[in-house]
């Protein structure tokens, strides 16, 4: 396992921001974490690389390539960030230094961890920029961020993130601020890099379509808890958890050509209420109060049910659970 998370809890004061029992990511595989605002998805990603806010307390275990990351000092983390784990964030314009040339920004990222003579450094930078499909890499070296488009800027950031050949790439909403025509290019690039470099990917977003497009496995988080985890197409097409199902039906994609005229003006499926603020989450199952299948049992925190690498935490899943004996238990 490249990444193994167990009983991860991140708290700020009395609030539990993240509560994940188990999450695994094999080498060279792509995991998507999907959730709305306040779901804790970004905090999860940040706590893996030690970028959580100072007030946050992280407990539990995050094992990366056999090494325990929880409790590492900032100094230790600086050796992990870059050569072991690369990160890209949402707004490329903000992540790049507007006063520094592109070439220099990339070479600094390399230079931090590898001592290379100037010539080799430059070659490596051009090579990286070419790998992220930026045309005319040599001329880009001297340009400034504002002279590049959003998509190009994000590619530069990806280049910086993979500069030292990390084994894990963490991407936090990297395509959210980009136009849809550019998004595809970036997603394709990330997919390709993951394959060619045998690099695991942890992709965080609120966009279901994007998560479906990029992930091999999907983890759904709500209110800080991971409510479902499994292979991508199973989570999307055969979800168990009520929230996953509700989220998917509230978020229709573009209908097929033949059906376009049927669905116009049709009411969309909604989820009752809205995501509560941190102090207003119900006890027991956090989705209580908004769930259509709620029962009394939901006042207790649901147990994790695991079937064949597909996990969920729901007392009243939307689809029947078949246990190991092959018997379908619909009362569960």
């Amino acid at each position: 396992m490249m990444l193994e998370i167990r009983d991860l809890k991140v708290t700020i004061g009395p609030f539990t921001i993240v509560d994940i029992e188990r999450l695994t990511l094999p080498p060279a595989r792509r995991l998507g974490i999907v959730g709305e605002s306040g779901s804790g998805k970004t905090m999860t990603a940040m706590s893996i690389i030690g970028l959580q806010p100072n007030e946050a307390v992280v407990t539990g275990s995050i094992r990366f390539n056999g090494r325990e990351l929880v409790g590492l000092t900032d100094r230790d983390f600086s050796e992990v960030r870059g050569p072991e784990i690369g990160v890209i964030f949402q707004d490329p314009a903000k992540a790049l230094n507007p006063m520094m040339q592109i070439g220099r920004q990339v070479s600094e990222a390399i230079h931090l961890h590898m001592d290379l003579p100037k010539r080799q450094l430059r070659e490596r930078v051009v090579d990286l920029l070419t790998q992220v499909h930026l045309r005319d890499a040599k001329s880009l070296l001297r340009r400034y961020p504002h002279q590049l488009s959003g998509g190009q800027q994000q590619r530069v950031l990806i280049a910086i993130a993979i500069a030292c050949d990390p084994k894990l790439l963490i991407a936090d909403e990297p395509t959210t601020s980009l136009d849809v025509t550019v998004q595809n290019g970036i997603l394709n690039l990330i997919r390709e890099l993951s394959a060619s470099r045998n690099m695991s990917l942890l992709f965080v977003t609120h966009d279901l379509g994007v998560i479906q497009s990029i992930s091999e496995m999907i983890a759904v988080v709500y209110g800080g808890q991971m409510v479902e985890f499994g292979p991508a197409d199973q989570v999307i097409n055969k979800p168990f958890h009520q929230y996953t199902h509700a989220l998917i039906s509230a978020n229709p994609g573009i209908a097929e050509d033949e059906h376009l005229s049927e669905v116009v003006n049709q009411a969309l499926n909604t989820i009752r209420g809205s995501v509560p603020s941190l102090d207003k989450f119900p006890s027991g199952c956090r989705f209580r109060g908004r769930c259509v299948a709620e029962t009394e049992k939901c006042a207790q925190s649901p147990e994790t049910v695991e079937l064949d690498s597909h996990l969920f935490r729901c007392w009243n899943p939307i689809r029947a659970v078949t246990d190991t004996r092959g018997v379908t238990d619909v009362t569960r």
Partner: protein
């Protein structure tokens, strides 16, 4: 006769060098009364600018814009309050479009105060809230005490308070959680059905447009690439830009 018409519309932000390219170039469009029109395009295509000109908030330099048969410049000159009443906007970020120092009650009453020069009655305000599914307990509160979804409903209620003919919505759901987006979109569709409102919605999200708008306008670099029935344009457009836009959108949209 269309409700909103543009012919040869050109617009450029003032104060730039004279050889600066037009932000909007040679636009021609018609919006029929009661229709729902989606305006799509990438960032920088001029969608927001177009909407602001069509509703009279900004003035174009060349070409004509007509509202209900009358030139917009004429409206703005002789009857500006009327044009404001008939064209209202719902903005993208509900939190930023409400003055943080005003109570919800006050914010809701602003259009009536400004346009009809009177203070709205409690019954009226209650009616507006009901129309968007909100309870009157939120009236004395301030924006920071409400959720994004609630605030956007307040924005819609505020816009509808003067019974406009056209409601322009600038990315009304982009800043909202996924689970709340559907609620607001349903609200817009319901209201349009009930009041016979003309709805013009800007969105970068083609999926949203495909569910809520019967007509579509595709923009690129300040020009209108195509305009027409949504189903036709999304499924069998012959324009290469539109097709690539639709294709990209389909690739990142959910297929369940």
């Amino acid at each position: 006769m269309s409700l909103v018409e543009a012919r040869g519309l050109h617009f450029r932000y003032p104060g730039r060098r004279r050889k600066q390219p037009w932000t909007l170039q040679d636009l021609n469009l018609d919006i029929e009364r009661g229709s729902s029109v989606g305006v799509v395009g990438e960032s920088g295509s001029g969608k927001s600018t177009l909407v602001r000109i069509l509703c009279g908030l900004m003035v174009h330099q060349r070409g004509e814009v007509r509202f209900d048969g009358r030139y917009m410049k004429d409206w703005l000159h002789s009857d500006p309050r009327q044009i404001r009443r008939q064209n209202q906007i719902v903005f993208q970020s509900p939190r930023r479009s409400l003055d943080p120092r005003m109570t919800i009650r006050r914010s809701l009453g602003e259009p009536v105060r400004a346009i009809e020069r009177r203070i709205p009655s409690d019954e009226e305000i209650a009616g507006w809230l009901e129309r968007v599914g909100l309870k009157d307990e939120i009236l004395p509160r301030y924006p920071h005490q409400l959720s994004g979804g609630q605030l956007q409903r307040v924005g819609v209620a505020r816009a509808l308070s003067v019974n406009p003919d056209v409601l322009y919505a600038d990315e009304p759901t982009s800043a909202l959680d996924v689970s709340v987006q559907a609620q607001v979109l349903n609200l817009l569709m319901d209201i349009r059905a009930q009041l016979g409102l003309t709805l013009v919605m800007i969105s970068h999200d083609l999926a949203v447009i495909s569910r809520t708008c019967e007509q579509i306008i595709v923009m690129k670099d300040g020009r209108i690439i195509e305009a027409g029935p949504m189903t036709e344009i999304l499924s069998c457009s012959s324009d290469p830009y539109t097709t690539s836009l639709v294709q990209s959108a389909r690739m990142v949209s959910l297929k369940a």
